[in-house]
């Protein structure tokens, strides 16, 4: 079923009018309410009155992850804190995390787009859904929850982890829909076999998988292993969390809910739009958000996009899966990790920048593993074995506290980490996604 048939199948000309109308409202809204945006507009020499249709959006300045950090915590908000119903925090590049906030209407919007996403994947209101995304500051769990609530599904909010319990709940309550990260889904298959459950006999028939990059081959593996339809969902907390776009059962791209999240694909170097179908950076404007509306937010995700309506009847544009990043962010078990965060932690420990390297690996059917190699230079070196060991533990603890995922720290000898042109390669991603 199509959740919001009027909007999701709207003729393109009408959709464009709706976007134009919303953009005009939005620029006036942020110009009046958010001093940071007023300043950004003034500096770019653009006034709300210059924006008449959605095509004028190119006149507006971009918003970046740096803005999120620089104006932390509430600088980019367009409402006072008292109007916020909920806030979520994800990891930032260094120091400050990325804070987002939702008004009651924003939460309703979140529920609406997530309901669209679940229906797009094939769920119906009579379904039971097991939500195994983490609940908490991470947007995955609660975002899915609001969507399922809006749709009227029966929700089992298992959150992430406790795999044996997840499997028991699946067997006992027979949910048809599963929402979690794709790697966790595969991980659960191994656990299932260990306790004598045949994954192919599971009740899960539709998976809504996201929060980390995954490939077509991984999809094939999940579908064959669990005998289910595996669909991709995309989102980022800055825009709303999950629910920006979602694949339908035809699996020919992710439907981007462009009546509320207006997409552009640009050349990351020039900032100019690329031709339809070409790879570029996805830029999103939140057309109707109230709490922290963002103008032309640069997601740093590389995708391609088509505006050809889909055979499923939806008229929204469709993007490819994420093909890469314009920065060095990596996603590990749904958590955004920036090498600069590691650098920041190491700087805090000994006041210098030791050489380090992140190695991300995913063994077959296992969760991602992060190993951090840190070169022991003169500053870090202690001639006491106990102190070396406690240094290792300290680095591990501090990194785990910031990233909220378990890591392995390995102290290595100076000059062990390969350098090219004097600069060490910070990330080695061995995952075959």
């Amino acid at each position: 079923m199509i959740w919001n048939e009027k909007i999701e199948t709207m003729p393109l000309a009408d959709l464009k009018n709706l976007q134009s109308e919303r953009l005009v409202k939005l620029v006036n809204y942020v110009y009046q309410r958010c001093p940071v945006y007023k300043q950004k507009f003034d500096q770019a020499g653009v006034q709300p009155s210059n924006i008449k249709t959605i095509d004028d959006i190119v006149k507006l300045p971009f918003t970046t992850k740096h803005d999120m950090r620089d104006y932390y915590p509430f600088g980019l908000f367009s409402v006072p804190r008292t109007e916020l119903a909920e806030i979520h925090v994800s990891s930032g590049t260094t120091g400050n995390p990325t804070l987002v906030g939702y008004t009651h209407d924003d939460i309703k919007l979140w529920g609406e787009v997530m309901a669209r996403a679940f229906c797009c994947a094939g769920a119906v209101p009579d379904d039971t859904i097991q939500i195994a995304y983490g609940y908490g500051l991470f947007t995955g769990g609660l975002g899915a929850h609001y969507g399922a609530l809006e749709m009227g599904m029966t929700i089992i909010p298992t959150s992430s982890g406790q795999t044996k319990r997840q499997l028991k709940i699946m067997q006992d309550f027979k949910p048809r829909i599963l929402a979690c990260t794709p790697s966790y889904c595969l991980y659960m298959a191994d656990e299932a076999r260990d306790i004598g459950i045949d994954p192919r006999s599971s009740s899960w028939k539709i998976g809504v998988f996201g929060a980390e990059p995954w490939s077509e081959s991984m999809r094939g593996e999940i579908e064959a292993t669990w005998n289910m339809l595996a669909t991709d969902i995309y989102g980022l907390s800055e825009i709303i969390g999950p629910g920006v776009s979602q694949e339908c059962h035809l699996k020919t791209g992710l439907h981007l809910f462009s009546d509320v999240f207006y997409p552009e694909i640009i050349d990351p170097d020039t900032g100019k739009p690329v031709a339809e179908g070409q790879d570029g950076e996805l830029v999103i404007t939140t057309l109707t958000k109230q709490g922290i509306p963002l103008i032309r937010y640069r997601t740093r995700d590389i995708v391609s996009m088509t505006s050809q309506p889909c055979k499923c009847g939806r008229t929204s544009p469709r993007t490819s899966k994420i093909k890469g990043r314009t920065d060095d962010m990596i996603v590990v078990r749904g958590i955004n990790v920036f090498p600069s965060q590691i650098e920041h932690i190491l700087l805090g420990i000994d006041g210098t920048h030791p050489h380090y390297q992140l190695i991300i690996d995913r063994q077959a059917h296992k969760l991602d593993e992060v190993e951090i190699m840190v070169e022991v230079d003169e500053k870090l070196f202690s001639d006491e074995i106990k102190q070396m060991h406690s240094l290792e533990q300290k680095i591990k603890k501090e990194i785990e506290a910031v990233l909220s995922i378990g890591v392995t720290v390995k102290l290595v000898e100076p000059k062990t980490i390969a350098r090219s042109e004097g600069k060490a390669k910070r990330v080695i991603d061995k995952r075959s996604l």
Partner: protein, 144 residues
């Protein structure tokens, strides 16, 4: 006092060899060594004939190492001497953090290198000397 080189090494094949290579090239002689293993890495402790020169050579090769003073204690190579030494320390509640040794073949003297803690104001060198052992100076050690 005698000097000890402490060297950080990863626990994998060829790492100790790499240190020995540097010492060999610089014609430095190893008197004693010990290894503390901590899983993925370890510390190698070396007593060599020219410690300062060895440190410079190792640092130039990018090795993380430090030079520190340790007690070099001698006693005749006879049964019961290490027991006497450790009893002396334990009576004063001095903790031995690390110890290793060798026997000098010429005059049948045992040499023990000690790192201690919890000294609580005890002059360990004096205590040992008063109990019939000899604490070697740099020169005495390298003259053995």
């Amino acid at each position: 006092m005698a000097k000890q080189l402490t060297i950080f090494l990863e626990n994998r094949p060829g790492r100790i060899k790499s240190i020995c290579d540097v010492l060999q090239v610089n014609n430095l002689n190893i008197w004693a060594f010990a290894i503390q293993d901590r899983g993925e890495f370890g510390l190698v402790k070396l007593v060599v004939d020219k410690p300062a020169q060895a440190q410079v050579a190792l640092v130039e090769c990018g090795v993380a190492c430090a030079l520190k003073e340790v007690l070099a204690i001698t006693a005749p190579d006879k049964p019961g001497n290490l027991d006497r030494l450790t009893s002396t320390l334990s009576q004063k509640n001095v903790n031995i953090k690390d110890a290793y040794g060798f026997v000098s073949t010429g005059d049948k003297q045992g040499v023990c290198f000690l790192e201690v803690q919890n000294v609580n104001g005890v002059d360990v060198a004096k205590l040992i000397s008063e109990n019939g052992f000899r604490v070697l100076s740099d020169e005495e050690l390298y003259a053995l």
